[in-house]
Amino acid sequence: MRRKTVRLGFWLVFRREVRWLIRRPFLVLLASIIPIAMFLILVSVYARGIATELPIAVLDQDDSPGSRQIVRLVDAAPDIRIKTKVVDLEEAKRGILSGSYQGLLLVPENFTRDAMAGRRPEITFFYNTQMMVAGNLSARGVSSALPSIAAQVQAAARMARGMAADQAAIAVRPVAMDAHGLFNPTLDYSHFLLAALVVAVLQLTTSLATCYSVALDVETPHSLRILRRLGGGIVPAVLGKLLPLTIVACLVHAVCDIIMFGYFGLPLDGSGWLLALSALVFLLSCQILGALAALFIGSPPPALSVLALTVSPSFGYLGVSFPREAMNAFSIWWGNIFPATPYVSLRIDQTVRGAPVDVSLAILHHQFVYLAVAVSFLLFILVRIRRKAATAGTQPPGQAAAPEV
């Protein structure tokens, strides 16, 4: 009997929430079209995949057949292209400062002659580390091209002395390193960044939308009490209030994932059910976070400001661009207040990294603990609001909640 009223109450609140959402198109947009649009913009940033052919300049002070050969070989490296030949260092400096190119390859005077005479001339590459990604990518291109050029020079010298080509190659390089990029053999970072950016976008929009919707109830006198009565208890009222947006968020997440797995070819090297379960716990946690902000602060504008101010910088704390292990203690600790942090790890583990399930189960466990703590906190606050309202008689619950914080 009791079960039936609970179920009925849940549906009453659920339907009220759906009607409410339909009357507030901006709230629906915030939960649906806006995250998809944001995701599409971010996707288009990385749409070209690996950055290739970054422009660099060359200053060839030697201008001999040997130095020209080196310049040609560097130009052939896939990461970079030689955009201009400059005549002096001043011109090169201006070009780097203004952003026409990312670096300068300097071949000194008499390079070939010195190399032949065994004087070990120096070849220099200057690169812009203020623009770190572009600078490092161009440096990677040059530094991967130059050693093989040096090896070719050596091998050519030995072959000139009558050594066979394969023997010369071994003599030049007695220790061969076979380097493998695990989980990402093509060194294409778009999968990692986009996998995390989807999560960052959804965390922001889901928590803001829930916060907005809950704050509208907290702000209106008696509204929380009506919800509770309608739901026939706190738990069914909370579920009925939150679930419509959960469904929207799940659909949006599914659309983004179809783009990621379908169009961008994000590999699914792990367990699909684990990924889905983790996504659900993540979205629910975002909602609870939004609801807590609404309950603590009350009226929508400040609640949304505080939440946006807290959640917007979370991308840095996720440890995608900069690894979490290298952060200071505060950041490692604070990163845990974002539902996205464990979810991003699990998502990357179960897609690109293809980690064993038990490694990810530990993270999922962490997510469940977070959700449990957040839910108990939410229920605790709601119970307190009800008690206060009961002792204060007719005082509206929204205002009764205010002195607590």
Binding site: N128, P300, N328
Partner: protein, 380 residues
């Protein structure tokens, strides 16, 4: 002229008397200044953890392990018996890579054949992987060069000549402008200019959508637009100075640029951002929506600015769209002047874009204001 001055005064009154707007313009930057850079404050990523699977266990293999360990980018944290346990440690994120030295490594080296080692690095992170590969590559190169010199010396060549044969040219990679390679020096200046833009958009947007307590000064739209934009220069330049001088100072981020060139960018940048805010306010009309839109725009605008990902590598259409946002040219110009020491003449392109944007958005805001006035007149 008097109406113009009263617009400016009215706007400044509003700006100070409304607590929320005052907080956005003058207090939020302090909170964000403390909060935002924390993940990057350790600046440099040194000593990435690696493991060694040494199946040879000889003098040469142990020497290679030591060479990797002493390099400034990597640290050998464990020696593991097999590849499976090393893989497991990578999955658990306890190490970021491992070096596999096969059996008979030393025997191959001594016998003049090519000895092979394998390096497996976690390529999930661009920074970690490139650091690790260069650390291990350098250690192996050093071992290789020593072996070649040893062999040549055994053939009777003098050491200097042997070195020249083993390594005929020196390769020198010189990082410019951020020589420590600090991640904070790279991200923080750019992010804070974006924050300045977001705060200006939000502050100006709210100022023009929230009901004001003081009666609005009635002025013709052209005077109102110019008057408002002039008064927003105060929070605009203030925020710009905090972002380009105080924040870098607090986080020890190099700032070598000329202050006057930097200030010259502050003017069109804050004008363009506030004019965009004025236009957004006229477009969206509702304070809460303005606030939400501004908080959502931050993430995509940052990634469009060409800092996280080089704009050369973006689709051309997106490069054009990105240029319509003041932060794209503003961040580029300000970082080049402040952190790289460029002159204003090096960033004339970006500087001109900012002025053009300021004019376009001011014009759009003016037209929107005229439209609103006309509608109001029509209704009454």
């Amino acid at each position: 002229m008097t109406t113009f001055l009263s617009v400016v005064r009215g706007e400044l009154d509003n700006l100070v008397s409304n607590g929320r707007i005052f907080a956005i313009f003058f207090i939020a930057i302090a909170i964000l200044g403390l909060y935002y850079p924390q993940p990057y404050s350790s600046e440099v990523l040194r000593e990435v953890a690696v493991a060694v699977v040494d199946r040879d266990d000889t003098t040469s293999s142990r020497q290679l392990t030591r060479d990797v360990d002493v390099s400034q980018n990597a640290r050998v944290v464990m020696k593991l018996p097999d590849v499976a346990s090393a893989e497991r440690a990578v999955f658990e994120r306890r190490i970021s890579g491992y070096l596999f030295i096969p059996q008979h490594f030393e025997r191959e080296l001594l016998s003049g054949r090519q000895a092979a080692v394998a390096f497996y690095g976690d390529a999930s992170y661009f920074l970690i992987f490139s650091k690790l590969r260069s650390a291990i590559g350098t250690a192996i190169q050093r071992l290789g060069t020593n072996v070649v010199i040893g062999r040549l010396a055994a053939d009777g060549m003098n050491p200097e000549e042997a070195l020249a044969v083993a390594s005929p040219m020196r390769i020198n990679m010189i990082p410019l402008f951020n020589p420590e390679g600090g991640y904070a020096s790279y991200v923080v200046p750019a992010v804070f200019l974006l924050i300045v833009q977001q705060l200006l958009l939000m502050g100006v947007g709210l100022l023009n959508t929230l009901p004001s307590e003081a009666p609005r000064v009635s002025a013709p739209p052209i005077v109102a637009t110019i008057g408002k934009l002039i008064s927003y220069m105060i929070p605009g330049v203030f925020l710009y100075l905090v972002a380009t001088i105080i924040i870098p100072y607090v986080y020890n981020i190099p700032r070598i640029g000329d202050v006057w060139s930097s200030l010259a960018i502050a003017i069109p940048f804050s004008l363009a951002a506030s004019a965009l805010g004025l236009f957004l306010a006229a477009l969206l009309r509702d304070a809460l929506i303005v606030q939400l839109v501004c908080s959502l725009l931050g993430l995509p605008l940052f990634f469009m600015a060409g800092i996280a990902w080089p704009s050369e590598a973006m689709p051309e259409l997106l490069q054009w769209v990105a240029r319509l946002v003041p932060s794209t040219s503003g961040i580029d110009a300000a970082v080049r002047v402040n952190q790289m020491g460029a002159d204003l003449s090096d960033v004339t392109g970006q500087f001109r874009v900012l002025w053009v944007l300021a004019l376009i958005y001011a014009l759009l805001a003016y037209l929107a204001m005229r439209l609103t006035d006309a509608q109001a007149e029509f209704r009454s």
